[in-house]
């Protein structure tokens, strides 16, 4: 992994909202390096400031202190987003194809060109999805797949996934894990995935960043011990069990004991 170049450098980042009594520190002295093409997962207690962290990374939110450097500060990366509430973030009046093409439409791409790009991205990952359907008629898994494809249509440098699987059932999640890994391997995109599920976080991530309670800082970083070629059965392996044990210890120390 260390052969890949540094891509995102977050140094001593701090961010607070509000003033005086209502001042709410969300990030405190947060430092993290991400390498290009890395699959990084974030795990932390509810409301610890994960969304603020993601906003800061992509520059939607500015910092009070510290800095975020992208690609050595040379260029702004293209970012694709996938959100937890897929129904809320998809447009029910558009077909699956038009939803996927929405970011292209914003950029003024003509309809025939949009449709051919959509077909290309679906074909590239060999996804099975009804492009002519409306999103309200889709299952949760298919709807979330639509938002994943929408995030990929601009060929992003960074794919941000904010608890993408929290609202779906287990079976659907397993099949989407495979699809996300397949996308990651095929495109080399840098993935930042926030998760609520400890198994999911350590299975998917090359590294898992454990966050402290608000204000968020890095509690620990866990390197994956799983083979590079991932298979769902690895979730039952000894390596996985030992990672999970470590993860639970970190979590107990950070989330449970410190609040007592």
């Amino acid at each position: 992994m260390s052969d890949r170049p540094l891509y995102i450098e977050i140094e001593h980042a701090s961010k607070a909202f509000g003033e005086g009594q209502k001042r709410n520190v969300v990030l405190r002295d947060f430092s993290l390096d991400v390498r290009k093409g890395e699959f990084l997962t974030f795990f932390g207690p509810n409301g610890c400031g994960k969304t603020t962290l993601l906003n800061v990374i992509v520059g939607v939110e500015s910092l009070d202190e510290g800095s975020v450097k992208m690609n050595g500060g040379t260029s702004r990366p293209r970012v694709g987003y996938v959100f937890q509430d897929y129904r809320g973030y998809l447009m029910p009046w558009l077909t699956v194809a038009e939803n996927i093409a929405f970011p292209l439409r914003i950029r003024g791409v003509s309809k025939p060109e949009r449709m051919s790009k959509v077909e290309a991205v679906v074909a590239r990952f060999q996804f099975r999805i009804d492009l002519g359907a409306y999103t309200y008629a889709l299952s949760g898994g298919q709807a979330q797949l639509t938002s994943i494809l929408r995030a990929l249509i601009l060929d992003p440098d960074i794919l941000i996934m904010d608890e993408p699987f929290s609202a779906l059932d287990y079976q659907t999640n397993l099949s989407l894990y495979e699809k996300v890994l397949q996308i990651w391997e095929a495109t080399g995109v840098t993935i930042l995935l926030v998760s609520h599920d400890i198994d999911e976080a350590i299975y998917l991530g090359e590294r898992t960043v454990f966050l402290t309670k608000r204000p968020a800082s890095v509690a620990a970083v866990l390197e994956s011990k799983l083979p590079a070629q991932k298979e769902l059965t690895q979730m039952g392996s000894e390596a996985f069990a030992s990672m999970k044990k470590q993860a639970l210890e970190i979590f107990r120390r950070e989330a449970l004991e410190k609040s007592a």
Binding site: V79, Y81, M91, I106
Partner: protein, 249 residues
């Protein structure tokens, strides 16, 4: 929402009751004429008294006032609802004008527009305008925050967010406001025709029938107005469910 066969049961019952009450002479025919006499009179009005011209005149005022009201009300309402601040600032004023019965303002309209068509069209227009504005504004205000955010994170400008998200998010409420004001406009046109007076128009027919105690004619025109309003509303609902096909799903 399908009404189906049951939707016809109550109207048939009312009709049967009407037959019964008049057939048994429970009320004097001067107060309630029989359905047969009423419908015969209605046909007669079409055949011998140029009722189609009256329908045309009323429909013209109704259509002009309504369409103008929508053309101005929809964009204006969406603009107001697009910003929480603008909405908060303009809501009390708009709600005041909406609450004011247009029909009570007819002397004002007479002064401003004279006794011709323009006064009646202006009344229908004002009736439609505020209902449409408030509904559109509310619809736009209720646009789902997540969808606005989705468009923004993919780089949409405020105008693109408005055109491709806010407009569609507001559309169900917009159409619901347009449907409400469609019926309201008919009421206002009929009343304005009765108050202000005119050569042709269904309201004038109702008023004429009333002044000479021609209750058969009065009932015939009333039945016609009711049917017209009903059919147009059904047509609107039919189109509405197809335009905003995604609602409730």
């Amino acid at each position: 929402m399908r009404i189906g066969v049951w939707g016809f049961a109550l109207p048939l019952l009312c009709l049967a009751l009407w037959y019964l009450v008049t057939g048994l002479k429970l009320v004097p025919p001067l107060l309630v004429p029989s359905p047969t006499a009423t419908f015969r009179r209605l046909v007669g009005l079409f055949l011998h008294e140029h009722l189609t011209s009256d329908i045309g005149a009323t429909a013209w005022r109704w259509g002009c006032g309504y369409i103008l009201g929508c053309l101005i009300g929809v964009p204006f309402g969406l603009f107001i609802g697009n910003s929480r601040k603008v909405y908060a600032a303009s809501y009390p004023t708009l709600d005041f004008f909406r609450s004011l019965p247009v029909t009570a303002l007819f002397p004002l309209f007479l002064l401003l527009f004279g006794i011709g068509d323009s006064a009646k069209i202006a009344m229908a227009f004002s009736a439609a305008l505020f209902v449409v504005i408030l509904n559109c504004a509310y619809g736009a205000l209720q646009a789902k925050e997540t969808r606005l955010r989705a468009a923004r994170v993919f780089g949409a400008s405020e105008w693109q967010v408005f055109r491709w998200v806010v407009f569609f998010e507001a559309l169900p409420q917009t159409l619901s406001g347009m449907r409400t004001s469609l019926s309201l406009c008919l009421v206002v046109v009929i009343v304005s025709e009765m108050f202000i007076g005119t050569q042709l128009g269904l309201g004038q027919r109702v008023f004429d029938a009333y002044t000479v105690n021609d209750t058969e004619k009065l009932y015939a025109v009333l039945v016609l107005i009711g049917l017209l309003g009903y059919l147009i509303n059904r047509g609107f609902v039919w189109a509405e469910t197809r335009i905003v096909f995604w609602t409730g799903k």
